[in-house]
Amino acid sequence: MSKVLKEKIYSIEKLAPNIFKMTVESEYIAKNAVPGKFVNVKCGEGINALLRRPISICSIDREKHTFDIVFQLKGIGTEILSQKQAGAEVDLIGPLGQPFDLSDEYKNIAVIGGGIGVFPLLSLLKEKKSVSKTAFLGFRNKEYIVLMDEFKSASDRLFISTDDGSAGHKGLIIDLLEKDLLENNFDLIYTCGPLPMIKKVVEIANKNGIKCQVSLEQRMGCGIGACLVCACKTKLGDEWEYSHVCKDGPVFWSDEVIFDE
C-alpha cells in the first residue's frame, strides 16, 4: 500500500549539470519500496507546480530508513525540488506502481539504461539476488557519469557509452548491448530511458529471444490509477487496450506493450 507522506530530506546533492540526488528519510518507503517503483512528489506549494511529479526510486537503504531519488532539471517542478534543503520536508506519495520482476528464475540478467533512466536500474542491480548482472549505461558525456562506484559494486560487468565519446564507447549504448550479445546471452533484459532506446532494446531482445522488462514514462494526473490519463497501449488478446503507467506500470513486460503511438 502506498501512503501520503511528509518526510524529511536527509541530503541533497548536485551530481552533474542538472542532475540532483535527494536522500529522503522514510521508514515507510524504505520498508515497502522495491526496485522499479516510484514516488509522486509535490514539488511546489499549493498551486505552484500543481500536479505531483513522478520520480523513480533509485536506491533504498533499508537499515538507515532512507531512499534516494535522482532527478534531472526539466521544468518548474524539478527546479523547485532541486532548491529544497536538507532538513526540509518533502510531500510525497509512495511507493507506487508495479516493480521490476526480480524472481530467481532469471539468473543472467542485463540492465540497459540511457540518461536519467539509468538510475532506477541501480536499485534493481543492488537488490537482485546474486546472479550474473551486466549493466549497459549510456550518458550524454563524461560529466553525466555519476554514482559509478555504486553501479560497479552492484554489477558484475559494466559497460559505458557517451554520445560524444568523452568516456567509454562513443555512440549509442545499444551498440554495446548488440556487440555483447554476439558472445553472451541473458535471461532477462531490463531497460529504462528514452523511448527510442527502449524500442530498440525491445527489438534486440525479441530478435535474440530474450525476455525484457521496460520501465515507461507518461504524463500523470493522480499517480494512483484513478484518473486514467497515463495511458499506454497494451495487448489484449488480438486486440489492444489502454493500460496505465502509474498502476499497471511503470514496469511492463515488453511483449505486453504496443509501441505504435
Binding site: R219, G221, I224, G225, A231
Partner: protein, 306 residues
C-alpha cells in the same frame, strides 16, 4: 463540532454532507479507499460511463497549466454494464451516495443508459452533456438551450432516478442553458464541467495533448465557476452542485454561498487523495467558527454589493 448538521438534500436525495467526488477524477472509488474512509463522503460521481466500453484518447492526456490542468481522457471506461457488475458492488460497501455520470454520442445512447441505470442500485444520474474531449460526441447537446432541453426531455421518461444535468461553461450565457434544463425536467444541475483549452510544447511546436485540445480544470477556473453558480442560482429553483477548482473548505464555502447545495472536488483529488475529506472538515470548521448549525445557513446566503 458534533451538533452541526452538514446534510443536504438535492433532488430528493439526502447526502450526509455536501462534499462529493467529481466524475472522472475519482475512478470508481477503489484507488482512494487506501487514502481515506470513503464513508466520509457525501457522494461519489463515478467516471463518465458510455453504453459500450471506450478505450479513450491517445496519450498524452494531461498537461499542467498555471494553477490548472488540461485533460483529454476521452471517456475511457468499461461501459455501463461492466460498471454495474464490476464496480458498483464495491462502491455499495460504503455509506455514501453513488451518482452515475453518463455520456453518449446520440440521444438514444443516453436514453438506453439511463434506462439501464434506473434499475441499478445507484442514487442519482448525472448527464454529462458537455464533455469536450470526444470528437463526435456530447459537446453539441450542452451548448444551446435547445440542445439541452431536447436531451433532458427525451431522457427524462427513462429515468427513474433523480436526474442531475451537468452544464458546460463553454457558453455565452449559462443562465439560459440552465433554465432550459430545468424546464425540461432536470431535478438538479451540476456545474461546471471543464473549459476548452490548449497548451503547446514550444520545442516540439505541437500541442502537448495528443488530442490537441483538452478541458481545463483546477484552481485556475474557480472564479469562473463561482460566477456561473451564482448566475444560475438566481434563475433556477432546482438545487445546484458546484465545482471547479475546489481545494479546501473555504473554496467550498464560496460555492455554497453562491448558491450550491452540494460541491464536488475534482482535480484536487490528484494532489491530495484525501482532499474530499479535508473539504468536509474545512466546511465544518467554518460553520463552527460562525456558530452555524446547518449547511443551509450558508447555502445561497451571499449578499451582493450594492
Amino acid at each position: 463540532m458534533s451538533n452541526i448538521d452538514l446534510s443536504v438534500e438535492i433532488a430528493g436525495v439526502k447526502f450526509k454532507n455536501p462534499v462529493m467526488a467529481a466524475s472522472g477524477t475519482f475512478g470508481f472509488g477503489r484507488e482512494f479507499a487506501d487514502y481515506m474512509d470513503l464513508n466520509g463522503l457525501g457522494a461519489i460521481s463515478v467516471k463518465g460511463l458510455t453504453l459500450a466500453p471506450r478505450p479513450g484518447n491517445k496519450p498524452p492526456r494531461i498537461a499542467e497549466t498555471p494553477a490548472g490542468i488540461l485533460n483529454s481522457v476521452g471517456l475511457q471506461n468499461p461501459g455501463v454494464e461492466a460498471f454495474i457488475k464490476e464496480e458498483l458492488p464495491f462502491l455499495r460497501q460504503f455509506d455514501t451516495k453513488i451518482i452515475a455520470n453518463v455520456a453518449g454520442s446520440t440521444i438514444e445512447d443516453y436514453c438506453e443508459m439511463v434506462e439501464i441505470l434506473s434499475d441499478a442500485d445507484i442514487d442519482a444520474i448525472e448527464l454529462n452533456v458537455s464533455c469536450p474531449n470526444v470528437k463526435a460526441g456530447c459537446v453539441s447537446f450542452g451548448n444551446t438551450p435547445g440542445g439541452i432541453a431536447e436531451i433532458t426531455k427525451r431522457v427524462k421518461p427513462y429515468c427513474k432516478k433523480p436526474l442531475i444535468v451537468k452544464l458546460t461553461p463553454n457558453v455565452t450565457d449559462i443562465k439560459e442553458i440552465a433554465i432550459a434544463a430545468e424546464d425540461a425536467g432536470a431535478d438538479a444541475l451540476s456545474l461546471i464541467n471543464t473549459i476548452l483549452g490548449m497548451a503547446i510544447d514550444i520545442h516540439k511546436k505541437r500541442p502537448i495533448l495528443a488530442n490537441n485540445v483538452g478541458g481545463l480544470s483546477g484552481p485556475a477556473v474557480k472564479p469562473i465557476a463561482v460566477r456561473m453558480v451564482h448566475e444560475v442560482s438566481r434563475v433556477v429553483k432546482i438545487p445546484l452542485i458546484g465545482m471547479g477548482g475546489i481545494s479546501n473548505g473555504d473554496d467550498a464555502i464560496e460555492f455554497m454561498l453562491a448558491g450550491a447545495s452540494g460541491v464536488m472536488v475534482g482535480t484536487y483529488n490528484f494532489i491530495d487523495p484525501a482532499a474530499c475529506l479535508e473539504v468536509v472538515t474545512g466546511i465544518e470548521s467554518y460553520l463552527t467558527k460562525y456558530n452555524y448549525s446547518n449547511a443551509y445557513d450558508v447555502i445561497g446566503k451571499l449578499e451582493l454589493n450594492g
